[in-house]
Protein backbone atom coordinates (compact mmCIF):
# COMPACT_ATOMS: atom_id res chain seq x y z
CA UNK A 1 0.00 0.00 0.00
CA UNK A 2 2.74 2.36 1.04
CA UNK A 3 4.92 1.52 -2.00
CA UNK A 4 2.05 1.92 -4.43
CA UNK A 5 1.23 5.42 -3.26
CA UNK A 6 4.94 6.29 -3.47
CA UNK A 7 4.96 5.09 -7.09
CA UNK A 8 1.98 7.19 -7.90
CA UNK A 9 3.79 10.25 -6.58
CA UNK A 10 6.77 9.50 -8.81
CA UNK A 11 4.67 9.11 -11.96
CA UNK A 12 2.81 12.29 -11.05
CA UNK A 13 6.08 14.19 -10.80
CA UNK A 14 7.26 12.80 -14.12
CA UNK A 15 4.10 13.89 -15.84
CA UNK A 16 4.66 17.43 -14.58
CA UNK A 17 8.29 17.34 -15.67
CA UNK A 18 7.31 16.17 -19.15
CA UNK A 19 4.70 18.90 -19.41
CA UNK A 20 7.22 21.56 -18.43
CA UNK A 21 9.77 20.55 -21.10
CA UNK A 22 10.43 22.89 -24.03
CA UNK A 23 8.32 22.20 -27.07
CA UNK A 24 10.20 22.51 -30.37
CA UNK A 25 7.00 23.28 -32.25
CA UNK A 26 6.51 26.49 -30.35
CA UNK A 27 10.05 27.77 -30.25
CA UNK A 28 10.55 28.25 -33.99
CA UNK A 29 7.63 30.64 -34.65
CA UNK A 30 8.62 32.56 -31.54
CA UNK A 31 12.13 32.89 -32.92
CA UNK A 32 10.90 34.04 -36.34
CA UNK A 33 8.67 36.70 -34.82
CA UNK A 34 11.57 37.91 -32.75
CA UNK A 35 13.78 38.34 -35.82
CA UNK A 36 11.05 40.10 -37.80
CA UNK A 37 10.52 42.59 -35.01
CA UNK A 38 14.24 43.15 -34.69
CA UNK A 39 14.54 43.72 -38.46
CA UNK A 40 11.77 46.34 -38.35
CA UNK A 41 13.45 48.28 -35.58
CA UNK A 42 16.81 48.01 -37.32
CA UNK A 43 15.47 49.62 -40.52
CA UNK A 44 14.98 52.99 -38.88
CA UNK A 45 18.31 52.81 -37.10
CA UNK A 46 20.14 51.81 -40.28
CA UNK A 47 18.48 54.63 -42.21
CA UNK A 48 19.73 57.10 -39.65
CA UNK A 49 23.19 55.58 -39.72
CA UNK A 50 23.11 55.77 -43.52
CA UNK A 51 22.18 59.44 -43.50
CA UNK A 52 24.87 60.29 -41.00
CA UNK A 53 27.33 58.20 -43.02
CA UNK A 54 26.58 60.11 -46.22
CA UNK A 55 26.81 63.42 -44.36
CA UNK A 56 30.16 62.53 -42.85
CA UNK A 57 31.55 61.10 -46.08
CA UNK A 58 30.52 64.01 -48.29
CA UNK A 59 31.50 66.62 -45.68
CA UNK A 60 34.91 64.98 -45.39
CA UNK A 61 35.28 65.31 -49.15
CA UNK A 62 34.26 68.97 -48.86
CA UNK A 63 36.70 69.70 -46.08
CA UNK A 64 39.53 68.03 -47.99
CA UNK A 65 39.18 70.89 -50.51
CA UNK A 66 38.10 73.72 -48.24
CA UNK A 67 39.98 74.22 -44.96
CA UNK A 68 37.80 74.08 -41.85
CA UNK A 69 39.27 77.45 -40.86
CA UNK A 70 37.81 79.13 -43.96
CA UNK A 71 34.44 77.52 -43.31
CA UNK A 72 34.31 78.74 -39.71
CA UNK A 73 36.09 82.09 -39.97
CA UNK A 74 35.26 83.60 -43.36
CA UNK A 75 32.26 85.91 -43.42
CA UNK A 76 31.26 85.43 -47.03
CA UNK A 77 29.35 82.57 -48.59
CA UNK A 78 29.65 82.54 -52.39
CA UNK A 79 30.20 78.92 -53.43
CA UNK A 80 28.04 79.30 -56.52
CA UNK A 81 29.97 82.26 -57.88
CA UNK A 82 33.24 82.51 -59.74
CA UNK A 83 34.99 83.97 -56.68
CA UNK A 84 34.22 81.13 -54.31
CA UNK A 85 34.14 81.88 -50.59
CA UNK A 86 33.02 79.32 -48.00
CA UNK A 87 32.34 81.23 -44.78
CA UNK A 88 29.30 79.66 -43.15
CA UNK A 89 28.39 82.66 -40.98
CA UNK A 90 25.88 84.36 -43.34
CA UNK A 91 23.79 81.17 -43.33
CA UNK A 92 24.20 80.53 -39.60
CA UNK A 93 23.25 84.11 -38.76
CA UNK A 94 20.26 83.90 -41.12
CA UNK A 95 19.11 80.73 -39.39
CA UNK A 96 19.66 82.12 -35.91
CA UNK A 97 17.82 85.34 -36.76
CA UNK A 98 14.65 83.68 -38.08
CA UNK A 99 14.79 81.10 -35.27
CA UNK A 100 15.21 83.75 -32.60
CA UNK A 101 12.20 85.68 -33.89
CA UNK A 102 10.17 82.46 -34.05
CA UNK A 103 11.16 81.53 -30.51
CA UNK A 104 10.41 85.02 -29.23
CA UNK A 105 6.88 84.54 -30.57
CA UNK A 106 6.32 80.90 -29.73
CA UNK A 107 7.79 80.43 -26.27
CA UNK A 108 5.98 83.16 -24.30
CA UNK A 109 2.69 82.76 -26.14
CA UNK A 110 2.94 78.98 -26.00
CA UNK A 111 3.67 78.91 -22.28
CA UNK A 112 0.93 81.39 -21.46
CA UNK A 113 -1.59 79.42 -23.52
CA UNK A 114 -0.48 76.26 -21.74
CA UNK A 115 -0.97 77.90 -18.34
CA UNK A 116 -4.42 79.06 -19.38
CA UNK A 117 -5.43 75.65 -20.68
CA UNK A 118 -4.07 73.71 -17.74
CA UNK A 119 -4.92 75.99 -14.82
CA UNK A 120 -7.76 78.28 -15.85
CA UNK A 121 -9.81 76.66 -18.63
CA UNK A 122 -12.71 74.37 -17.79
CA UNK A 123 -12.10 70.69 -18.61
CA UNK A 124 -14.60 71.02 -21.43
CA UNK A 125 -12.84 73.97 -23.04
CA UNK A 126 -9.51 72.24 -22.58
CA UNK A 127 -10.68 69.05 -24.26
CA UNK A 128 -11.97 71.13 -27.19
CA UNK A 129 -8.91 73.32 -27.67
CA UNK A 130 -6.21 70.66 -27.24
CA UNK A 131 -7.20 68.64 -30.34
CA UNK A 132 -7.52 71.85 -32.37
CA UNK A 133 -3.97 72.80 -31.36
CA UNK A 134 -2.77 69.41 -32.51
CA UNK A 135 -4.54 69.85 -35.87
CA UNK A 136 -2.80 73.22 -36.30
CA UNK A 137 0.50 71.40 -35.95
CA UNK A 138 -0.46 69.34 -39.00
CA UNK A 139 -0.83 72.22 -41.48
CA UNK A 140 1.76 71.77 -44.29
CA UNK A 141 4.59 74.25 -43.83
CA UNK A 142 4.37 75.36 -47.47
CA UNK A 143 1.00 76.88 -46.57
CA UNK A 144 2.63 78.81 -43.74
CA UNK A 145 5.36 79.91 -46.18
CA UNK A 146 2.90 81.53 -48.56
CA UNK A 147 0.96 82.93 -45.63
CA UNK A 148 4.18 84.68 -44.57
CA UNK A 149 5.03 85.98 -48.05
CA UNK A 150 1.57 87.01 -49.24
CA UNK A 151 -0.19 88.02 -46.04
CA UNK A 152 2.16 88.78 -43.17
CA UNK A 153 4.86 90.60 -45.15
CA UNK A 154 2.41 93.09 -46.78
CA UNK A 155 0.89 93.64 -43.36
CA UNK A 156 4.29 94.32 -41.77
CA UNK A 157 5.27 96.64 -44.63
CA UNK A 158 2.69 99.11 -43.38
CA UNK A 159 4.26 99.18 -39.90
CA UNK A 160 7.95 98.66 -40.47
CA UNK A 161 9.77 101.14 -42.72
CA UNK A 162 12.21 99.82 -45.34
CA UNK A 163 11.00 96.25 -45.05
CA UNK A 164 12.16 94.22 -48.02
CA UNK A 165 9.72 91.84 -49.72
CA UNK A 166 11.90 88.98 -48.56
CA UNK A 167 13.02 89.44 -44.97
CA UNK A 168 13.68 87.58 -41.72
CA UNK A 169 10.88 89.08 -39.63
CA UNK A 170 7.85 87.78 -41.47
CA UNK A 171 8.94 84.13 -41.82
CA UNK A 172 10.25 84.31 -38.24
CA UNK A 173 6.87 85.36 -36.89
CA UNK A 174 5.00 82.82 -38.99
CA UNK A 175 7.42 80.09 -37.94
CA UNK A 176 6.68 81.11 -34.34
CA UNK A 177 2.97 80.72 -35.03
CA UNK A 178 3.67 77.33 -36.55
CA UNK A 179 5.54 75.98 -33.51
CA UNK A 180 3.30 77.71 -30.97
CA UNK A 181 0.74 74.86 -30.85
CA UNK A 182 3.50 72.37 -30.19
CA UNK A 183 4.91 74.44 -27.32
CA UNK A 184 1.43 74.99 -25.91
CA UNK A 185 0.42 71.36 -26.17
CA UNK A 186 3.62 69.86 -24.73
CA UNK A 187 3.90 72.45 -21.95
CA UNK A 188 0.26 71.90 -21.11
CA UNK A 189 0.95 68.17 -20.77
CA UNK A 190 3.78 68.96 -18.37
CA UNK A 191 1.67 71.38 -16.30
CA UNK A 192 -1.26 69.01 -16.21
CA UNK A 193 0.96 66.22 -14.91
CA UNK A 194 1.84 68.20 -11.77
CA UNK A 195 0.03 66.46 -8.89
CA UNK A 196 -3.12 68.26 -7.82
CA UNK A 197 -1.99 67.89 -4.19
CA UNK A 198 0.75 70.48 -4.77
CA UNK A 199 -1.84 72.98 -5.96
CA UNK A 200 -4.05 72.28 -2.94
CA UNK A 201 -1.07 72.75 -0.63
CA UNK A 202 -0.36 76.13 -2.19
CA UNK A 203 -4.00 77.24 -2.16
CA UNK A 204 -4.24 76.25 1.50
CA UNK A 205 -1.41 78.69 2.25
CA UNK A 206 -3.44 81.54 0.85
CA UNK A 207 -2.09 81.49 -2.69
CA UNK A 208 -4.11 83.09 -5.47
CA UNK A 209 -4.67 81.17 -8.68
CA UNK A 210 -1.97 83.17 -10.41
CA UNK A 211 0.54 82.65 -7.59
CA UNK A 212 -0.16 78.93 -7.48
CA UNK A 213 0.13 78.62 -11.27
CA UNK A 214 3.31 80.63 -11.72
CA UNK A 215 5.17 79.90 -8.50
CA UNK A 216 4.31 76.27 -7.85
CA UNK A 217 2.95 74.55 -10.94
CA UNK A 218 5.25 76.10 -13.56
CA UNK A 219 8.46 75.45 -11.55
CA UNK A 220 7.34 71.88 -10.86
CA UNK A 221 6.73 71.32 -14.57
CA UNK A 222 9.92 73.06 -15.64
CA UNK A 223 11.58 69.96 -17.08
CA UNK A 224 8.67 69.27 -19.41
CA UNK A 225 8.40 72.93 -20.35
CA UNK A 226 12.14 73.11 -21.06
CA UNK A 227 11.89 69.99 -23.20
CA UNK A 228 9.07 71.55 -25.20
CA UNK A 229 11.13 74.72 -25.64
CA UNK A 230 14.14 72.83 -26.91
CA UNK A 231 12.02 70.80 -29.28
CA UNK A 232 10.53 74.06 -30.55
CA UNK A 233 14.00 75.54 -31.03
CA UNK A 234 15.20 72.51 -33.02
CA UNK A 235 12.04 72.71 -35.06
CA UNK A 236 12.71 76.39 -35.82
CA UNK A 237 16.36 75.80 -36.68
CA UNK A 238 15.48 72.94 -39.00
CA UNK A 239 12.39 74.52 -40.59
CA UNK A 240 12.84 74.83 -44.35
CA UNK A 241 9.79 75.67 -46.39
CA UNK A 242 8.70 78.90 -44.70
CA UNK A 243 12.14 80.47 -44.84
CA UNK A 244 12.84 79.19 -48.35
CA UNK A 245 9.68 80.92 -49.57
CA UNK A 246 9.60 84.11 -47.54
CA UNK A 247 13.10 84.94 -46.27
CA UNK A 248 14.91 85.30 -49.56
CA UNK A 249 18.03 83.72 -51.02
CA UNK A 250 20.69 86.23 -50.18
CA UNK A 251 23.48 84.73 -48.09
CA UNK A 252 24.96 88.01 -46.87
CA UNK A 253 26.09 88.54 -43.30
CA UNK A 254 23.61 90.98 -41.81
CA UNK A 255 21.95 91.44 -38.46
CA UNK A 256 19.10 93.51 -39.88
CA UNK A 257 15.97 91.34 -39.92
CA UNK A 258 14.28 93.64 -42.46
CA UNK A 259 16.67 92.54 -45.18
CA UNK A 260 16.53 89.39 -47.29
CA UNK A 261 18.70 86.62 -45.87
CA UNK A 262 19.24 82.95 -46.44
CA UNK A 263 19.08 80.22 -43.85
CA UNK A 264 21.07 77.00 -43.89
CA UNK A 265 18.01 75.00 -44.85
CA UNK A 266 16.98 77.39 -47.60
CA UNK A 267 20.47 77.16 -49.07
CA UNK A 268 20.25 73.37 -49.18
CA UNK A 269 16.92 73.62 -50.99
CA UNK A 270 18.31 76.13 -53.47
CA UNK A 271 21.28 73.93 -54.39
CA UNK A 272 19.30 70.69 -54.37
CA UNK A 273 16.76 72.10 -56.82
CA UNK A 274 19.34 73.83 -58.97
CA UNK A 275 21.57 72.49 -61.74
CA UNK A 276 24.74 72.01 -59.71
CA UNK A 277 26.49 68.86 -61.02
CA UNK A 278 26.68 66.00 -58.52
CA UNK A 279 30.14 65.46 -57.08
CA UNK A 280 31.25 69.07 -57.64
CA UNK A 281 32.49 71.22 -54.80
CA UNK A 282 29.34 73.35 -54.92
CA UNK A 283 27.31 70.15 -54.60
CA UNK A 284 29.34 69.09 -51.57
CA UNK A 285 28.70 72.36 -49.77
CA UNK A 286 25.15 71.24 -49.04
CA UNK A 287 26.45 68.25 -47.13
CA UNK A 288 28.78 70.40 -45.09
CA UNK A 289 25.90 72.78 -44.29
CA UNK A 290 23.60 69.83 -43.54
CA UNK A 291 26.25 68.32 -41.27
CA UNK A 292 26.45 71.52 -39.25
CA UNK A 293 22.66 71.74 -39.10
CA UNK A 294 22.51 68.14 -37.97
CA UNK A 295 25.07 68.80 -35.23
CA UNK A 296 23.12 71.86 -34.04
CA UNK A 297 19.84 69.98 -33.70
CA UNK A 298 21.63 66.96 -32.26
CA UNK A 299 23.14 69.08 -29.51
CA UNK A 300 19.72 70.56 -28.77
CA UNK A 301 18.08 67.14 -28.62
CA UNK A 302 20.78 65.75 -26.36
CA UNK A 303 20.42 68.80 -24.14
CA UNK A 304 16.68 68.21 -23.93
CA UNK A 305 17.26 64.55 -23.05
CA UNK A 306 19.53 65.50 -20.17
CA UNK A 307 17.30 68.31 -18.95
CA UNK A 308 14.31 66.00 -18.87
CA UNK A 309 16.26 63.28 -17.11
CA UNK A 310 17.82 65.67 -14.65
CA UNK A 311 14.52 67.10 -13.45
CA UNK A 312 12.19 64.18 -14.08
CA UNK A 313 10.00 62.93 -11.18
CA UNK A 314 11.12 65.85 -9.15
CA UNK A 315 7.71 66.18 -7.56
CA UNK A 316 7.13 62.48 -6.86
Amino acid sequence: MATRSAERVITGDEAVRAALRRKAGRNIPELIIRWILLACSLISILTTVGIVGVLVFESAAFFSEVPLGDFLLDTQWTPLFADKRFGIWPLVVGTLMTSTIAIAVALPLGLLSAIYLSEYASPRLRSTIKPILEVLAGIPTVVYGFFALLFVTPLLERVIPNLATFNAISPGIVMGIMILPMVASLSEDALHAVPVGLRYGAFALGGTKFEVSTRIVVPAALSGIAASFILAISRAVGETMIVAIAAGQRPVLTFDPREPIQTMTAYIVQVSLGDVPAGSLAYRTIFAVAMLLFLMTLVLNIASYFIVRRFREVYE
Binding site: P123, L198, G201, A204, L205, G206, I216, V314
Partner: protein, 265 residues
Amino acid sequence: MTSQNIVQFDGPTILKAENVAVYYGDKQVLRDVMLSVPTHKITALIGPSGSGKSTLLRCFNRMNDLIRGARVEGQVTYHDQDLYDPEVDPVEVRRRIGMVFQKPNPFPKSIYENITWGARINGYRGTMDELVERSLRRAALWDEVKDRLHENALSLSGGQQQRLCIARAIAIEPEVILMDEPASALDPIATLKIEELMHELKENYTILIVTHNMQQAARVSDYTAMMMLTEDRNSATVIEFGKTQAIFTHPRDRRTEDYITGRIG
Protein backbone atom coordinates in the same frame (compact mmCIF):
# COMPACT_ATOMS: atom_id res chain seq x y z
CA MET B 1 -33.96 63.36 15.43
CA THR B 2 -30.22 63.68 15.88
CA SER B 3 -30.18 67.06 17.51
CA GLN B 4 -30.57 65.67 21.03
CA ASN B 5 -27.11 64.13 20.67
CA ILE B 6 -25.39 67.34 19.70
CA VAL B 7 -24.14 68.80 22.94
CA GLN B 8 -23.96 72.51 22.37
CA PHE B 9 -20.56 73.59 23.49
CA ASP B 10 -20.87 76.60 25.78
CA GLY B 11 -17.23 77.81 25.79
CA PRO B 12 -15.68 80.03 23.14
CA THR B 13 -16.08 78.67 19.64
CA ILE B 14 -14.24 79.85 16.58
CA LEU B 15 -15.86 77.97 13.72
CA LYS B 16 -19.47 77.00 13.41
CA ALA B 17 -21.42 75.00 10.86
CA GLU B 18 -25.17 75.46 10.85
CA ASN B 19 -27.48 73.39 8.66
CA VAL B 20 -24.65 72.82 6.24
CA ALA B 21 -25.33 70.78 3.13
CA VAL B 22 -22.77 69.96 0.45
CA TYR B 23 -23.47 68.77 -3.07
CA TYR B 24 -21.08 67.38 -5.65
CA GLY B 25 -23.00 68.06 -8.83
CA ASP B 26 -26.45 66.56 -8.26
CA LYS B 27 -25.33 64.30 -5.45
CA GLN B 28 -25.85 65.50 -1.93
CA VAL B 29 -23.04 64.29 0.32
CA LEU B 30 -23.72 66.24 3.53
CA ARG B 31 -26.95 67.44 5.06
CA ASP B 32 -28.08 69.26 8.20
CA VAL B 33 -24.59 69.47 9.67
CA MET B 34 -24.41 71.28 13.00
CA LEU B 35 -20.97 71.65 14.53
CA SER B 36 -19.19 74.10 16.81
CA VAL B 37 -15.42 74.03 16.95
CA PRO B 38 -14.07 75.08 20.38
CA THR B 39 -11.23 77.60 20.41
CA HIS B 40 -7.74 76.31 21.30
CA LYS B 41 -8.89 72.74 21.52
CA ILE B 42 -8.45 69.73 19.32
CA THR B 43 -11.66 68.51 17.77
CA ALA B 44 -11.72 65.19 15.96
CA LEU B 45 -14.07 64.25 13.15
CA ILE B 46 -14.56 60.49 13.14
CA GLY B 47 -16.77 58.15 11.19
CA PRO B 48 -16.68 55.45 8.55
CA SER B 49 -15.35 55.96 5.02
CA GLY B 50 -17.68 58.00 2.87
CA SER B 51 -19.29 59.79 5.80
CA GLY B 52 -18.14 63.17 4.50
CA LYS B 53 -15.47 63.98 7.10
CA SER B 54 -13.03 65.45 4.61
CA THR B 55 -15.81 67.22 2.76
CA LEU B 56 -16.94 68.90 5.99
CA LEU B 57 -13.34 69.82 6.83
CA ARG B 58 -12.90 71.49 3.45
CA CYS B 59 -16.00 73.61 4.06
CA PHE B 60 -14.14 75.46 6.78
CA ASN B 61 -11.42 76.95 4.54
CA ARG B 62 -13.36 76.97 1.31
CA MET B 63 -11.21 74.29 -0.27
CA ASN B 64 -14.42 72.85 -1.71
CA ASP B 65 -14.38 75.87 -4.03
CA LEU B 66 -11.53 74.16 -5.88
CA ILE B 67 -13.54 71.04 -6.55
CA ARG B 68 -15.55 71.48 -9.72
CA GLY B 69 -19.26 71.05 -9.17
CA ALA B 70 -19.07 71.29 -5.37
CA ARG B 71 -21.69 73.50 -3.74
CA VAL B 72 -22.05 74.44 -0.09
CA GLU B 73 -25.37 75.49 1.46
CA GLY B 74 -26.18 76.60 4.99
CA GLN B 75 -23.94 78.72 7.14
CA VAL B 76 -20.30 78.28 7.95
CA THR B 77 -19.09 81.02 10.25
CA TYR B 78 -15.65 82.02 11.50
CA HIS B 79 -15.72 84.62 14.29
CA ASP B 80 -19.41 84.95 13.41
CA GLN B 81 -18.56 85.97 9.85
CA ASP B 82 -20.27 83.89 7.18
CA LEU B 83 -17.39 82.40 5.18
CA TYR B 84 -19.60 81.98 2.10
CA ASP B 85 -20.67 85.61 2.00
CA PRO B 86 -19.96 86.87 -1.54
CA GLU B 87 -17.83 89.64 -0.01
CA VAL B 88 -15.48 87.13 1.57
CA ASP B 89 -12.21 86.42 -0.25
CA PRO B 90 -11.40 82.70 -0.03
CA VAL B 91 -7.68 83.49 -0.30
CA GLU B 92 -7.91 85.48 2.97
CA VAL B 93 -9.91 82.68 4.58
CA ARG B 94 -7.21 80.12 3.78
CA ARG B 95 -4.54 82.43 5.09
CA ARG B 96 -6.20 82.34 8.52
CA ILE B 97 -7.44 78.77 8.41
CA GLY B 98 -4.56 76.57 7.36
CA MET B 99 -4.67 72.99 6.21
CA VAL B 100 -2.54 69.86 6.35
CA PHE B 101 -3.38 67.08 3.94
CA GLN B 102 -3.56 63.32 4.13
CA LYS B 103 -0.64 62.74 1.82
CA PRO B 104 2.39 64.90 2.65
CA ASN B 105 2.63 67.39 -0.22
CA PRO B 106 5.77 69.48 0.27
CA PHE B 107 6.63 71.65 -2.71
CA PRO B 108 9.48 70.30 -4.85
CA LYS B 109 11.69 73.07 -3.51
CA SER B 110 14.15 73.33 -0.64
CA ILE B 111 13.04 72.87 2.97
CA TYR B 112 13.73 76.57 3.50
CA GLU B 113 11.62 77.66 0.53
CA ASN B 114 8.76 75.41 1.61
CA ILE B 115 8.49 77.48 4.78
CA THR B 116 9.00 80.88 3.17
CA TRP B 117 6.66 80.35 0.20
CA GLY B 118 3.47 81.15 2.06
CA ALA B 119 5.08 84.01 3.96
CA ARG B 120 6.38 85.57 0.76
CA ILE B 121 3.06 85.56 -1.08
CA ASN B 122 1.40 86.97 2.01
CA GLY B 123 3.85 89.86 2.21
CA TYR B 124 5.66 88.79 5.38
CA ARG B 125 7.97 91.58 6.52
CA GLY B 126 10.21 89.89 9.08
CA THR B 127 13.49 88.03 8.70
CA MET B 128 13.01 84.85 6.72
CA ASP B 129 15.78 82.98 8.59
CA GLU B 130 14.01 83.58 11.90
CA LEU B 131 10.67 82.57 10.47
CA VAL B 132 12.13 79.33 9.14
CA GLU B 133 13.77 78.44 12.44
CA ARG B 134 10.72 79.38 14.52
CA SER B 135 8.32 77.42 12.32
CA LEU B 136 10.52 74.34 12.15
CA ARG B 137 11.07 74.42 15.92
CA ARG B 138 7.34 74.60 16.56
CA ALA B 139 6.83 71.67 14.22
CA ALA B 140 9.54 69.73 16.12
CA LEU B 141 11.59 69.36 12.96
CA TRP B 142 14.37 71.90 13.47
CA ASP B 143 16.97 69.59 15.00
CA GLU B 144 16.56 67.06 12.22
CA VAL B 145 16.88 69.47 9.30
CA LYS B 146 18.84 72.50 10.55
CA ASP B 147 21.98 71.39 8.70
CA ARG B 148 20.26 70.79 5.39
CA LEU B 149 17.75 73.59 5.01
CA HIS B 150 18.65 74.04 1.37
CA GLU B 151 18.17 70.44 0.39
CA ASN B 152 15.07 69.40 -1.52
CA ALA B 153 12.13 68.77 0.78
CA LEU B 154 11.47 65.51 -1.04
CA SER B 155 14.67 64.07 0.40
CA LEU B 156 12.94 63.97 3.81
CA SER B 157 11.14 60.88 5.12
CA GLY B 158 7.34 60.76 4.94
CA GLY B 159 6.96 61.71 8.61
CA GLN B 160 9.42 64.58 8.27
CA GLN B 161 7.63 65.76 5.13
CA GLN B 162 4.35 65.86 7.01
CA ARG B 163 5.90 67.84 9.87
CA LEU B 164 7.36 70.18 7.25
CA CYS B 165 3.84 70.64 5.89
CA ILE B 166 2.67 71.51 9.40
CA ALA B 167 5.60 73.92 9.78
CA ARG B 168 4.69 75.45 6.43
CA ALA B 169 1.10 75.87 7.57
CA ILE B 170 2.02 77.54 10.89
CA ALA B 171 4.60 79.79 9.23
CA ILE B 172 1.81 82.05 8.01
CA GLU B 173 0.37 82.26 11.54
CA PRO B 174 -3.12 80.91 10.97
CA GLU B 175 -5.61 80.76 13.81
CA VAL B 176 -7.01 77.39 12.90
CA ILE B 177 -5.31 74.34 11.40
CA LEU B 178 -7.44 71.78 9.61
CA MET B 179 -5.85 68.35 9.39
CA ASP B 180 -7.15 65.75 6.98
CA GLU B 181 -5.93 62.37 8.31
CA PRO B 182 -2.43 63.81 8.71
CA ALA B 183 -0.91 60.58 9.98
CA SER B 184 -2.67 57.97 7.87
CA ALA B 185 0.25 57.66 5.45
CA LEU B 186 2.84 57.43 8.25
CA ASP B 187 4.37 54.69 10.36
CA PRO B 188 3.53 54.45 14.11
CA ILE B 189 6.63 56.34 15.27
CA ALA B 190 6.06 59.23 12.85
CA THR B 191 2.39 59.19 13.86
CA LEU B 192 3.34 59.51 17.52
CA LYS B 193 5.50 62.53 16.73
CA ILE B 194 2.64 64.21 14.88
CA GLU B 195 0.31 63.54 17.81
CA GLU B 196 2.77 64.98 20.33
CA LEU B 197 3.13 67.97 18.07
CA MET B 198 -0.61 68.51 17.99
CA HIS B 199 -0.69 68.63 21.78
CA GLU B 200 1.88 71.42 21.76
CA LEU B 201 0.19 73.33 18.94
CA LYS B 202 -3.07 73.40 20.85
CA GLU B 203 -1.65 76.19 22.99
CA ASN B 204 -1.66 78.60 20.08
CA TYR B 205 -3.99 77.13 17.51
CA THR B 206 -7.39 75.58 17.17
CA ILE B 207 -7.13 72.20 15.50
CA LEU B 208 -9.81 70.30 13.66
CA ILE B 209 -8.64 66.85 12.62
CA VAL B 210 -10.22 64.14 10.49
CA THR B 211 -9.11 60.69 11.49
CA HIS B 212 -9.95 57.11 10.66
CA ASN B 213 -8.12 55.93 13.67
CA MET B 214 -10.30 55.68 16.75
CA GLN B 215 -7.37 55.37 19.16
CA GLN B 216 -5.87 58.46 17.65
CA ALA B 217 -9.07 60.42 18.16
CA ALA B 218 -9.19 59.22 21.77
CA ARG B 219 -5.52 60.06 22.35
CA VAL B 220 -5.30 63.50 20.87
CA SER B 221 -8.68 65.19 20.83
CA ASP B 222 -10.64 67.13 23.45
CA TYR B 223 -13.89 67.00 21.52
CA THR B 224 -15.19 64.51 19.02
CA ALA B 225 -17.82 64.73 16.31
CA MET B 226 -19.18 61.48 14.98
CA MET B 227 -20.26 61.45 11.36
CA MET B 228 -22.42 58.81 9.73
CA LEU B 229 -24.50 58.22 6.63
CA THR B 230 -28.16 59.05 7.19
CA GLU B 231 -30.67 56.21 7.23
CA ASP B 232 -31.49 56.51 3.53
CA ARG B 233 -27.69 56.23 2.98
CA ASN B 234 -27.75 59.07 0.45
CA SER B 235 -25.86 61.64 2.44
CA ALA B 236 -24.08 62.00 5.74
CA THR B 237 -24.23 64.26 8.75
CA VAL B 238 -22.82 64.76 12.25
CA ILE B 239 -24.81 62.47 14.50
CA GLU B 240 -23.12 63.16 17.79
CA PHE B 241 -20.78 65.72 19.25
CA GLY B 242 -19.33 66.07 22.71
CA LYS B 243 -16.28 65.73 24.88
CA THR B 244 -14.09 62.95 23.54
CA GLN B 245 -14.10 61.14 26.84
CA ALA B 246 -17.88 61.18 26.98
CA ILE B 247 -18.26 60.03 23.40
CA PHE B 248 -15.92 57.13 23.92
CA THR B 249 -17.25 56.03 27.30
CA HIS B 250 -20.93 56.89 27.14
CA PRO B 251 -21.99 57.40 23.55
CA ARG B 252 -25.60 58.52 23.35
CA ASP B 253 -26.22 57.33 19.85
CA ARG B 254 -26.44 53.60 19.21
CA ARG B 255 -24.60 54.03 15.89
CA THR B 256 -21.70 55.83 17.59
CA GLU B 257 -21.43 53.02 20.10
CA ASP B 258 -21.49 50.39 17.36
CA TYR B 259 -18.81 52.22 15.43
CA ILE B 260 -16.52 52.86 18.38
CA THR B 261 -16.72 49.31 19.59
CA GLY B 262 -15.96 48.02 16.11
CA ARG B 263 -19.33 46.50 15.27
CA ILE B 264 -19.69 48.61 12.14
CA GLY B 265 -17.38 50.68 10.09
